[in-house]
């Protein structure tokens, strides 16, 4: 790979007909060997970014290099160096798993005995040897995703793009895909992974960027991003208590940065969670508010997302500045 960067993007931008700007000038710098997460809600611009980096969609402005190669100037060379598993599982239902992988090998100039050997190796790797000679239309969602992953690996790519690889999978299949991603990365492949699952980003990614409305709003390691929050989260399970009364009772708490209303509770963002508990209890008691439970936690990536975008990623309730 040329240089040390697996992916570099400079003011990358993509607009569609009607002036809709899906990606609004993003910068990326991903070292080789990383598992880089691209976290954001539906419609944030994740897939458009991946499609530009994979040469499937030309940027409207800006530039990008993947594996050291410019995506606009040398798209064919980029395609030789990358593997792609897009959000929609790209399988031909008429072919068997083995035929599909052998064809994929052929498209990357791996032929004859080499193609057969590589196919067998990949089928073994993703645990599909027994189903290899069945048509892919008979595969379960998890099997299809694993075969799609295998097809992206036939040529041992330098950079692997995975666009929401676990969306729609059951928890067990999701864990299997995570294991595959770790194994692929351990073998030296840089992984660029888009996801809307916080847990996935937290578990898999060494570094991540949060994208919202086409712009990157935060970037760093999951731990650093959480540490930058500089506060703890005290969660009050309301257990029937009145939301407004509870908010009013804790509203003037020292060190309180914000209060977020959630479906069945309140999240208080405070500088010192453990040290605030006694005061929170006193205030609730004085206001005669009885809550169901109180807990303290370190900030999560969801809190990071909230801080960066002003809303929760996975449908939490509204928020209110303290």
């Amino acid at each position: 790979m040329s240089g040390t960067h697996a992916v570099e993007a400079d003011s990358l931008r993509r607009a569609f007909k009607g002036g809709i700007e899906a990606v609004r000038g993003i910068d990326l710098s991903i070292e080789r060997g990383e598992v880089f997460g691209f976290l954001g809600p539906n419609g944030a611009g994740k897939t458009t970014t991946v499609r530009m980096l994979c040469t499937l969609l030309p940027p409207t402005a800006g530039s990008a290099r993947v594996a050291g190669v410019d995506v606009v100037a040398e798209p064919a060379e980029v395609r030789r160096r990358i593997g792609v598993a897009l959000q929609e599982i790209g399988l031909d239902p008429v072919q068997t798993g083995r035929e599909l992988l052998e064809l994929q090998c052929g498209l990357y100039s791996i032929k004859g005995a080499d193609a057969r050997a590589r196919t067998g190796e990949l089928l073994e790797l993703v645990g599909l040897s027994d189903a290899a000679d069945r048509r892919t239309k008979t595969y379960s969602g998890g099997m299809k995703r694993r075969l799609d992953l295998a097809s992206a690996l036939v040529h041992s790519p330098e950079v692997l793009f995975l666009d929401e690889p676990t969306t729609g999978l059951d928890p067990s299949s999701r864990l299997t895909v995570w294991e595959e991603v770790r194994r692929i990365n351990a073998a030296g492949t840089t992984v660029f992974l888009t996801t809307q699952y916080l847990e996935e980003a937290d578990h898999l990614c060494g570094r991540l960027a949060i994208i919202d409305a086409g712009a990157i709003v935060a970037e760093g390691t999951p731990e650093a991003l959480k540490a930058e929050m500089g506060h703890d989260v005290v969660t009050l399970a309301l257990g029937g208590a009145d939301v407004a009364a509870t908010e009013a009772a804790v509203g003037e708490l020292a060190g309180l940065e914000r209060v977020v209303a959630e479906p069945d509770g309140l999240a208080l963002y405070v500088t010192d969670g453990a040290g605030s508990i006694a005061e929170i209890v006193r205030r609730l008691d004085r206001a005669s508010v009885r809550v169901g439970a109180i807990s303290v936690s370190r900030p999560s990536l969801d809190d990071v997302f909230l801080q960066a975008t002003g809303r929760r990623l996975e449908g939490a309730g509204g928020e209110q500045a303290a």
Partner: protein, 251 residues
Amino acid sequence: MSEALLLGRRAVREIARYPEATIPALFIPLFFLAVNIGQVSETFPDTTPFLRGQGYVAFQLPVSLMFAVATASSGLALVTEIDLGYFDKLLAAPIRRSSIIFGRLAADLVRGLLGSTVVLLAALALGAHMESGVLGAVVLVVLSALFGVGYAGFGILVALRTRNVQATNTSFLLFFPLLFLTPNFVPFERLTPLMEALARANPVSYVIEGLRSLVIQGWDPDKLAACAGVIVAMGVVLTGLSLRAIATYDR
């Protein structure tokens, strides 16, 4: 080129694995052949001058051949792959985009050869005979199949432009006016003046005339040249437009 062969082999495999997509398409031409003969063989007996001593089945054979080969199968296969996401997988591979089209056209060639052979055999069984002999039969089948390949470009073009299964499927219907504004039932000179003018302006007429000449006339270089010329021109134009559509897909 090897990419196109690989993709062509895959597309041909589809024909074998989805006979339900090919067999119904053969029903229509065989149905038309049988119905048309049944309806007009009393009107046009073997003694009719333009039949040159053959039954009406020989006159109708080219029309049925064209029905057999002019399908939207490749367009439908392509638009299905776009829907499923496999098309993106192919675009992300380091291959020439044109190989995706040529792979599909290879399947059309095989489908056309099979379909036109079946229709020819049916017509022979119904009493037609090839005035141009066995070699003429081979040329008839090959020209028919090549017409199907040329026409397939239209379905592929619609698939790439619309990315819509329904639109691609109905694109086949556009073939009907082209086929019926021809000397399909009677020769040019037996048509009304308006229909004759329209038929003479319709390039498909010359394909029918060329194919028909092999069946009821023998070897007519002028008619065959016109037939081949139309097939080549149609192939160049429609395949060219398809290649342009795939080259500019998402560009």
